[in-house]
Every structure is written in structure tokens, then in C-alpha cells.
């Protein structure tokens, strides 16, 4: 712990630092009278400083890892954590390969595309695939689906859920012939029940919902993915104050990143595209980037 962390007054801290005492170890071997002379303060003050310093050092030794800032991890620990994280498969081997195994937890993934390319389909697929049980290599978690555009169709989700269960039964048949027949007890209705569906109609509702997710996730700890279908749809209208829009959007992005890290879940944001006219040609760009 450094001097700046000690619970002493700012003037005392300033005097210590200008006298050259920047770390606790430098205070360990000095007597109170010497310190008083160096800092030009009374001896009782110097004794107080030394007492606080030794007290802090005492509590410091209980902390085994030598972290400079609270909560820091070494890069080795981080690599280890990342490798042990599970992925959510997208049901397409090529897409999983590009993503390095699938949609990663603790991260925010943004997927953009032209209308009709399959963003909502991918969102629904991920919300279904996160529920694949651990025995089959999935996360066995639940999903939150935030629909801002109204493109979520229950009958389509039902179809996808049925196909996922059929897939699992096939896997069962081929690879578990030796073990006892563990029949898939999941029904498409169960899969649909595990998707928490929110429909929002304005940007204020969107912000309110994302703020509320904190509480919701602490009550439902088994949620492993949040899918936001068209995160930018409600923000593409005319805003009187563009600076407000930027602030709100970045605030929302930060909150989602925090949620991903704290609750160890994956966040999938689906975005639209616009055309960017640069000189004579045109380019497709993600909306509101």
C-alpha cells in the first residue's frame, strides 16, 4: 500500500511525499522524533502517522497476492480463466470457428447485417442453444431476449426449439449407444419457458430495462445470455440533443459490459446497417457506430 492510501490528512500526506517517503517500508525503520524533525511537525503527529502506517501494513500482509490495485489479476490468471469459459454454439460449425468456438461468455458480441440476412434467426438460435444441457456440451442456462422491433415470432422459436431437441436425440443415439438410454426429457415448451422475453417500444423503455437487468439477474442467476434484437432501432429517430444520444448509448454499452463481466454471461447485440457515402462509392457500416 502506498502513502496516498493512508487515512491521514492531505497536508501530512503532501509533507511525507515531498520529504521522500513514498512507500510504507520507508516508514518502518524511522523513529517518531526523526520523522517529526524531517517533516517539521509535532512529535505526537509523527507518532500518529507511524501508528497508522504500521496498522495498515499489518492488514496488508493478509492479502497474499501482491496486487498494486485492488481487483487486479495477473495475465496468466486471466488466460486461464478465458480458456475455461464455455462457448455458446451458433449451430453453424463455420461460424463457431470464426468466433473461436462460439459466442463467448463475459463478452459483448455485436452482429450486424442488412435486413433479411438472418440476425433475428441467429438471435433466437443462440437463445435456444444456451439451454443445451451440460451433458451435451452446452451451458444449460436460460436466456433473456429483448425485442425492440417486434420481429420475434413464437412459432419460429418453437420450430428452432424442436430442431434443437431433435439434434440432441440424434447425438444421443450415435454416441451413447454403450451407456444407458438417457432419453431427452426436454420439450420445446420447456425451452420456450426458459427464454425471458421483453418487448420494448421506445428508447426510454430500453434504458429502463437495461438498468433493471441488474436486479433481474441477481434474482435469476442461471441466465447465461442476453440477446438485444436491434439495439439501435429506437435511437435512429430524430433526437433534439445528439450529445444526449451519445451519452445514453455509451452508458448503455458500458452497463451491458459490466453485466457480462459480473454475471459471467454473454451479451449479443444485433445491429442494423446504413450506407456510408465516401466520395463516389458507398460502403455498408453498422448503425450509430
Amino acid at each position: 500500500m502506498e502513502i496516498w492510501r493512508l487515512p491521514i490528512s492531505a497536508s501530512q500526506r503532501g509533507k511525507l511525499i515531498s520529504a521522500g517517503y513514498t512507500s510504507l517500508s520507508s516508514l518502518s525503520s524511522i523513529s517518531s522524533s526523526d520523522l517529526a524533525r524531517e517533516l517539521k511537525v509535532s512529535e505526537s503527529e509523527a507518532m500518529n502517522i507511524l501508528k497508522v502506517a504500521s496498522h495498515s501494513r499489518g492488514s496488508e500482509t493478509s492479502n497474499a497476492s501482491c496486487s498494486i490495485v485492488e481487483g487486479a489479476q495477473s495475465a496468466w490468471d486471466m488466460l486461464h480463466d478465458e480458456e475455461s469459459l464455455m462457448h455458446i454454439t451458433t449451430s453453424s460449425a463455420d461460424l463457431d470457428n470464426i468466433l473461436g468456438g462460439g459466442i463467448r461468455c463475459k463478452e459483448v458480441t455485436e452482429i450486424g447485417g442488412v435486413p433479411g440476412i438472418g440476425k433475428t434467426q441467429l438471435g433466437i438460435q443462440v437463445a435456444v442453444n444456451v439451454q443445451i444441457p451440460n451433458d451435451f456440451g452446452g451451458l444449460g442456462g436460460k436466456a433473456i431476449y429483448i425485442d425492440t422491433e417486434g420481429s420475434f415470432m413464437v412459432e419460429r422459436a418453437f420450430q428452432i426449439a424442436e430442431a434443437c431437441i431433435e439434434d440432441m436425440s440424434e447425438y444421443n443415439r450415435f454416441l451413447r449407444k454403450d451407456f444407458q438410454e438417457c432419453k431427452i426429457k426436454m420439450l420445446p415448451q420447456d425451452i420456450l419457458e426458459n427464454i425471458f422475453y421483453f418487448r420494448i417500444c421506445s428508447y426510454t423503455e430500453q434504458i429502463a430495462l437495461i438498468n433493471y437487468l441488474d436486479k433481474f439477474l441477481s434474482e435469476h442467476k442461471d441466465v447465461k445470455v442476453i440477446v438485444v434484437d436491434s439495439v439501435t432501432f429506437h435511437f435512429r429517430q430524430d433526437f433534439d440533443d445528439m450529445a444526449l444520444r451519445t451519452r445514453v448509448l455509451s452508458g448503455m454499452a458500458l452497463k451491458l459490459m459490466n453485466l457480462a463481466k459480473r454475471f459471467s454471461l454473454a451479451v449479443v447485440l444485433l445491429n442494423q446497417v446504413t450506407t456510408k457515402h465516401t466520395e463516389a462509392s458507398f460502403q455498408l457500416a453498422l448503425a450509430l457506430v
Binding site: 442488412v114 435486413p115 433473456i144 412459432e155 419460429r156 422475453y197 429502463a208 433481474f216 435512429r236 455498408l284
Partner: protein, 295 residues
């Protein structure tokens, strides 16, 4: 805020009046979503809109919504005579659902729209209007025929104006979707096409949906209002019409001969929809309305 239970969320559909088209659309036009019909003029967009406004009045057991409809039209004049003609044939084929002196046209509310701002104004008044209609026959279908006409003349071709146009799209679409969700309405919007001139690269080559490019009357076309509006609708259907030359076998007294006859071929394609696969079907327009043809 509580999540909605998906098992109780069933999307209702409004029948189009033809079982073949209904099969293509998995039941009809869905509620709580915006469906867009894109076609060049004379392809049948208004026919479908009129037909749907009538069939929305059928009871739910027969695929309708048991509802009246709000028809916002931007192109003049409104086809009253055609509506009356369709109404007569609708009544005769569905006489058992309606009392004797009933006129289904009474349950279609027509309003003309002149500009985009006028449309926004109308939509703010639509809320109380639909609320009040719950006492008689509730409004559950809104048709806008056509949305393109509102935007094609008022805006200059400068970046500032185009940006303003785009934000209007999102505003209108957002309001329509909020209305659709609140009252569980089906929203049907028609759009026009623009010709694609030049090679199939750059913005001309941008593929949206199932079809690589849309063809009608032998020309390459794309929907009007661009990529921004395409982001605002949930489903898009395309009507094409082509003149085809087909062989017809004719039996004559001195043996068989064949004639080459020009036939009008009309097809309905699903360009993109969250619940429909890529599909198409042929249809024809008769006095009684628009019906699919099984080949």
C-alpha cells in the same frame, strides 16, 4: 418489468381470403408486426389491401380478426367502386357471418394522407380513435397505401434532407409498432419500386432478403425508400408481373396444332420474414378478388 410468457404469446394472423396464399404466409398477415408489399403499379397491391380490409371482418374461427380496419391512402382517388365490387362478392360468399342488411364497407374507415408530417399527425389521433372503437367493432388492421408516395417528392437530394427523411422513417415505424403492440394490430404497408440502371455492383448489387434481385415487367427493380426503410419493416412481400409467351395445345379438326399465347404471369414472393421460408406462388386477379393459383 416482468418478462412476457412466450407460451401465452400467440401471434394471430389475418387471412387473405385465399387458402393458397394463406398457406404461403403460414396463416396470413401477422398481428403486432409491419408487413410491407412491394410492387410496381398495376401489380395488385391495392387489391390485396382492399381484400384484407374486408376479410379482417370475418370471425376469428374463420381466420379473420373480427375487426374493422383503418385505410390510410396517399394516392388519389380511392378505389370506391372496386371496393364496392369486392364487397358484394365477399358478402355473397360469407353471407352466413353477417346479418342481412349489413354492409361490410361500413367497417372500413378511409382517411387520405398528404404528407409525412400529416401522417404523424394522424397517428397521434389514431390512439384515441382505436380506443373508442373498442366499444363497437374494434380496429385491428391498419393499411397504408402507399407509404412511398409520401416521401418521393418532398425531399431534396442533399445529405441533410436525406438524413431527415431517414429519421422520419424510424419515427413513423416506431409509432406504428407501438400502436401495433398496444392494440395487437396488423399493419400492412405498400411500397413502390424504382428501376435499377447500370451494372450489378455497388449499391445496385446490394442483396436484401431471399431474392438476388427483383424482376418485374422484364426490368430489374428494387424497392423504393432504400435501406433505411427496409430496416423499419418486419416482413416484405414482392409482387411481380410478367408477360410470358406460352404454348397452348389446340385440338383442331385436322389434328393438333399449337398457338403461342401471351399470358400475364403474376407471382408473389417472400423477400424476407422472420417466420417464413423462401417461397413464392402464382396468383391471378379476378372480379372476385386476388387468388392464388395452384399449378
Amino acid at each position: 418489468m416482468t418478462p412476457q410468457s412466450l407460451l401465452q404469446l400467440t401471434s394471430q394472423k389475418c387471412t387473405t381470403g385465399c387458402p393458397i396464399l394463406d398457406r404461403l404466409l403460414y396463416g396470413g398477415i401477422p398481428c403486432d408486426s409491419i408487413t410491407e408489399i412491394v410492387a410496381e403499379s398495376g401489380s395488385g397491391k391495392t387489391q390485396i389491401c382492399l381484400q384484407l380490409s374486408l376479410h379482417a371482418q370475418l370471425p376469428v374461427s374463420h381466420g379473420g380478426l373480427a375487426a374493422s380496419s383503418l385505410y390510410l391512402h396517399t394516392e388519389f382517388p380511392f378505389p370506391f367502386r372496386r371496393l364496392h365490387q369486392l364487397c358484394l362478392s365477399f358478402r355473397s360468399s360469407n353471407a352466413h357471418h353477417f346479418p342481412v342488411n349489413d354492409n361490410p364497407c361500413d367497417r372500413i374507415f378511409v382517411q387520405s394522407v398528404h404528407t409525412a408530417d400529416h401522417l404523424l399527425e394522424i397517428m397521434s389521433k389514431t390512439d384515441p380513435f382505436i380506443e373508442n372503437s373498442k366499444n363497437q367493432v374494434p380496429v385491428r388492421l391498419i393499411v397504408i397505401d402507399s407509404i412511398a408516395a409520401l416521401f418521393r417528392s418532398d425531399f431534396d437530394n442533399t445529405p441533410v434532407e436525406l438524413k431527415r427523411r431517414s429519421s422520419l422513417f424510424f419515427k413513423i415505424s416506431s409509432k406504428l409498432k407501438a400502436l401495433a403492440k398496444r392494440f395487437n394490430l396488423a399493419v400492412l404497408v405498400t411500397n413502390q419500386v424504382v428501376d435499377l440502371v447500370g451494372p450489378n455492383e455497388g449499391i445496385n448489387g446490394l442483396r436484401i432478403g431471399n431474392l438476388v434481385c427483383l424482376h418485374t415487367s422484364g426490368r430489374r427493380v428494387c424497392p423504393a425508400l432504400g435501406l433505411a426503410w427496409a430496416n423499419c419493416v418486419n416482413s416484405r412481400l414482392f409482387l411481380s408481373r410478367n408477360e410470358e409467351v406460352i404454348r397452348e395445345e389446340n385440338e383442331k379438326s385436322n389434328g393438333q396444332s399449337c398457338d403461342f399465347v401471351k399470358k400475364k404471369m403474376r407471382k408473389l414472393y417472400v423477400v424476407f420474414a422472420p417466420h417464413l421460408p423462401e417461397s413464392s406462388c402464382e396468383f391471378e386477379i379476378t372480379r372476385e378478388g386476388l387468388f392464388g393459383v395452384e399449378r
